[in-house]
Symmetry: C2
Subunit: 327 residues, 2 copies
Amino acid sequence: MPQQTGEFERIATFFAPLTENIPGALGLRDDAAVLEPSPGCDLVVTTDTIVETVHFVGDEPADLVARKLLRVNLSDLAAMGARPYAYTLNVAFPDKIGDAWLADFVAGLASDQKEFGIALAGGDSVSTVGPVTLTITAIGEVASGTALRRTTAQADDLVYVTGTIGDGALGLQVLRGGVTGLGPAFEESLVTRYRLPQPRLGVGRAICGIASAATDVSDGLVADLGHIADGSDLAVVIDAEQVPLSGAAHAVMAGDPARLETILTGGDDYELVFAVPPTEKGQLDAIATEAGVALTPIGSFEPGAGVRVRGPDGEDLEFQQAGYSHR
Amino acid sequence: MPQQTGEFERIATFFAPLTENIPGALGLRDDAAVLEPSPGCDLVVTTDTIVETVHFVGDEPADLVARKLLRVNLSDLAAMGARPYAYTLNVAFPDKIGDAWLADFVAGLASDQKEFGIALAGGDSVSTVGPVTLTITAIGEVASGTALRRTTAQADDLVYVTGTIGDGALGLQVLRGGVTGLGPAFEESLVTRYRLPQPRLGVGRAICGIASAATDVSDGLVADLGHIADGSDLAVVIDAEQVPLSGAAHAVMAGDPARLETILTGGDDYELVFAVPPTEKGQLDAIATEAGVALTPIGSFEPGAGVRVRGPDGEDLEFQQAGYSHR
């Protein structure tokens, strides 16, 4: 696209420094980036767009907006077992976005690039008459033929999740004033989980070759497990009491047990949920120790269709919330 | 990102069929796409975002909006000498976008996918409270180490351009009512050039290993030649009378010679402009014949800095229009 002089300067000032670890980005001054994939690797490509007022309010710190967008993409790479390589960034900015906001935004990217070992390879910067609209396309690498899929779970596989479930959705409820009496420390921990998910890249790579299927929990545990079950032509049964909760989520549940539905269906966890043959249980304990991330078995796959959640009283739970539509 | 049920259905109905030639797209139902780069190849990655009311009016036929966005990206691949492999698509749609518009949009993509040998590998579909915002990220392949760059022209290299220059910018002027008395056939040909550029993929691949530098003409011939000259630490001198014009552009010039500035600086040509050692002249004639595309020498690079355009009277031309700022 034709670019205005201001865009050239913004790209050179703010974005070009993000490419320093990728010579093939050509300083964002060429027609395209040149990537050199490692021999024997497949490339894993994922992309997400977020829109101000739809996916973020607009008054969040800009660095957190940037980091969440990058991390959501990294979470998809993790779910495929890939290691991060490079990303492209497309920004559509209204006039109100000034250099201060942009500097914060770029600082967030720079910080997370270093943490997760990825760098900017290319992008586009345009103006818009609408809300801030941001797209990241992340590229990762995985040994040829080993990418983890959603559709390959086997009957009798165990269901594992990383970390704790429900914090992201509860964090959003805190931000919206829907959680009271929790205390500032728990509130802050939930909000942080919502704003700054932890992509499980180490676990994702470690379970490559061990897990038979995986996805990340973005739409909600029940919905995302449904994607694996549907894609694999299986049913899945999980036990609500086994789903790992943070201290903050336990505190919310103590005040209002009905929040279990938010926890299991709310989404924005960016934990991994995956299927593992029962014979691999020992391997997983070793991976959990190595990665420093809890890996918790919460159920199993079986012949059939759909997702069943066994409640504390042994009866299956029914959820009102949308987000998961079977088939 | 969490997706709404409507988004799942739209993706399955409209976008999943565009992936049929790429098994690694996994039907757009997994966390990411898995691409298998050819051994011995680098990947070339480029991306563009367009916004309704900024880059397109909004009442154009949707298939043309889709095709231009894809072709602008393909033109960047052509400028690097790459062959198309796969692309991702991010759409942010306001509520007004219905299935009819979407069907036309997808039909445009389907048609150009077939013509240019590329397919959809992944994407994201979100809603927006603003204008339609569309991003394509295109991935191509080129033999390792052979991607054409902007920064590698040599002194004494000849400057060549493909096709004809200026039609895109004149087409935009026609659409805005700024060209009169041209006649409907010429008007239509210019508008078509603006709305539906021809990415020069065949020429781009053929000049790999022959051209010492290349770019595509998107910002305007003078600006884009300036990118090569600046990046290569050289000056470039072109002869305005050698710049190849279409019959329609000749007709515009006959009525108003001052339109030369639009032609040379207006942009939206999506032709290639490239640097070639004088010894390769014979090769280029063969490539032009093979590709069925005119390749015209219009000047040369020399030591120094900046872009000089020699006018019909032998004097250097001065242009008012922005779009090219030296250094």
